[in-house]
Amino acid sequence: MRHQGESTPWQALAAEPEFRALLRSRRRFVVPATVFFIAYYLALPISVGWFPKTMSRPVLGPLTVAYCFALSQFAMAWALLALYLWRARSFDVHAAKIRRRETREVLEQKR
């Protein structure tokens, strides 16, 4: 097994276009998703704290805007989870391909 310290092979691997593409596609999902869920979540205490009047209005029968917003956070969390699980399948395939090729190359070098 390769170990810490021999930096060259890792640097080469990190510079490969295939790896850069995987890294980019992961980032393109994870960064916006994180910004979105933190913003969506903080919108709840902020709106309740600074606009209590609007948030107290009943919209769905007796349910207020605030309560519906709070319930929608559960839906948001589960939807984002489902979306990530779906996207992550292609990350897995991509990562497995790089991993397999790497192991093969290491084996060939040993021979």
Partner: protein, 534 residues
């Protein structure tokens, strides 16, 4: 009821005891826990008795404002899912310090990461154990609180010492199942009361009279008022949502699964279970408000046997109330923690009440077992094995030190909880989340994503987050009352930026070539799983 739970879990511990003889078995159950099982275990590790009794009570009394607590506990898992679970599994061996010190090698980083882990777990552990005293007083006042703390502490030690991570995992899985079952049964019974009509249910909730008259339980503002209330909420929300991704006892669970993919699957299952549980707090809480009635929850402070006990010993009622208030249970004008047990009594009879009480104890046991094994790994692996012995020393010694640490941590927690049982320790849970969010999370994220990140930055960031959280809590209203220098109960909104700024500024001052050279390796391994521990 509780005896059955203890019996089953002890059998599991006996069965698990053969497999915890190595450090890998003791800390990670040989990384053979499946994604689904780990998801249940995370839920069991996470949902505390304060959530079950406390939040249900807050919803019963304050409606929407109480329910707002529930939201953050689920949303927090998105940070775990998206940012830490998979890289942690790919890079780490046993502890968070593994991830942080992967490229930031050297003794300082590992020592401080271990220190923050120990601090967080100990704060959390004491808060949970003191809670045992409160729950005993609430549900079984004939029982002495001290005895209950000792019983819970010793049971937890038996699980951890003999069964290691495997037994701890199964205790958490069984507890999560029981808790979810109880919450669902109560919710269904509540809805049955309203002929399974959401309209009837929320209509009745809106009609419950509240102090102030003009408002109702579905409107915000019953618990938090004004700008300070809003700032408090934002600060608490930030600490909760980011802090969960830095809680060592939750992150530790990702080392028990075979791969990063299984780590992801386990967060997914945990999010489904945790989400369902926190949704039911709405039904249990508003159900208690409508079916039992707030004035009854307030007037009848105790459930089950406790009612008969208070009838014979009225003089103990005030002592019991103040003990509850001091143990992390929010006691408003009257106590709301009994909302769930009283609701159970009303809709399901005394058998269901007994079940609820047993589940509350099982809940604490599962959480403290997870905390103790985490503290033990931070000391035995990070401090003893990696720092004192420099990675030398054999397996027998390693596991012996791990068990000895667990014993010391457990004994310390029992002793401190008995000593602190009359004090208000509610702030300790908030403190644990604040330290996790301010000391651990910025450093974990920077280590994973910033090439230039230096050891000096990691050390400064962790210390800045740790010290600022501790200092702000010390001068906040929870410890200084109305003379507080810092106006918010939760320091997150200040201490998280302080931790982050400390890490960034110190990095800009110091160049760390070795850390930069390791960045490529870290990135490749974290993303692809090449060379991950098996």
């Amino acid at each position: 009821m509780f005896a059955i739970f203890v019996g089953i879990t002890l059998v599991v511990t006996y069965w698990a005891s053969g497999q915890s003889g190595t450090s890998r078995g003791f800390y990670t159950a040989h990384r053979r826990i499946g994604g689904l099982q780990n998801g249940w275990a995370i839920a069991g590790d996470y949902v505390s008795a304060a959530s079950f009794l406390g939040i249900t009570g807050l919803v019963a009394f304050y409606g929407f404002d109480g329910f707002m607590y529930s939201v953050g506990w689920l949303v927090a898992y998105l940070a775990v899912l998206l940012l830490v679970a998979e890289p942690l599994r790919n890079i780490g061996k046993y502890t968070i310090a593994d991830l942080v010190s992967f490229r930031l090698r050297g003794r300082g980083v590992r020592a401080i990461a271990a220190l923050s882990t120990l601090a967080i777990t100990l704060f959390y552990l004491i808060a949970q154990m003191v809670g045992v005293n409160a729950i005993v007083n609430l549900l079984l006042p004939r029982f002495e609180g001290v005895i209950a703390i000792v019983v819970v502490g010793v049971l937890m030690l038996v699980y951890v010492l003999f069964g290691g991570m495997l037994a701890t995992t199964w205790v958490q899985i069984i507890k999560a199942g029981l808790l979810l079952l109880t919450a669902l049964v109560l919710s269904v019974l509540v809805m049955k009361h309203f002929n399974f009509s959401m309209g009837n249910f929320f209509g009745a909730a809106a009609a419950v009279p509240v102090a102030g008259g003009a408002s109702n339980l579905l409107r915000p503002g019953l618990l938090f008022h004004g700008t300070l209330g809003a700032l408090n909420l934002v600060s608490l929300g930030l600490a909760l949502v980011l802090g969960t991704a830095g809680l060592p006892h939750i992150l530790m669970r990702f080392f028990t699964v075979p791969s990063a993919k299984a780590a992801r699957t386990s967060v997914a299952w945990a999010m489904v279970l945790i989400g369902i549980f926190y949704l039911t707090t709405s039904f249990m809480g508003l159900g208690a408000a409508t079916i039992v009635g707030k004035e009854h929850i307030g007037r009848r402070m105790y459930a089950g046997q406790a009612i008969r006990y208070i009838a014979h010993h009225p003089e103990r009622e005030t002592t019991l109330n103040s003990q509850l208030a001091h143990s992390g249970y929010i006691v408003p004008e009257s106590d709301s923690n009994l909302a769930a047990p009283l609701l159970a009594e009303q809709v399901g009879g005394s058998l269901l009440t007994a079940f609820v009480a047993a589940v509350a104890f099982a809940t604490i046991l599962a959480v403290v077992a997870g905390l103790t094994i985490t503290a033990s790994s931070a000391f035995a692996y990070d401090v003893w094995f990696s720092l004192v012995r420099n990675g030398r020393g054999d397996e027998t010694e390693h596991v012996f030190v791990a068990r000895a640490t667990a014993l010391v941590v457990g004994a310390l927690a029992i002793a401190l909880s008995i000593a602190l049982r009359g004090f208000n320790v509610a702030f300790l849970v908030g403190l644990a989340f604040a330290v996790a969010a301010s000391a651990n999370v910025p450093v974990i994220l920077l280590a994973l994503s910033w090439r230039r990140f230096a050891r000096f930055g990691a050390i400064t960031g962790m210390l800045a987050g740790l010290i600022s959280s501790l200092a702000l809590i010390a001068v906040s209203p929870v410890l200084m009352g109305s003379h507080a220098i810092f106006p918010l109960e939760n320091p997150g909104i200040v201490s998280i930026p302080v931790g982050l700024a400390g890490a960034i500024l110190a990095t800009l001052l110091a160049r760390d070539r070795e850390s930069e050279a390791m960045f490529d390796q870290l990135q490749v391994r974290a993303t692809t799983g090449i060379g991950a521990e098996v």
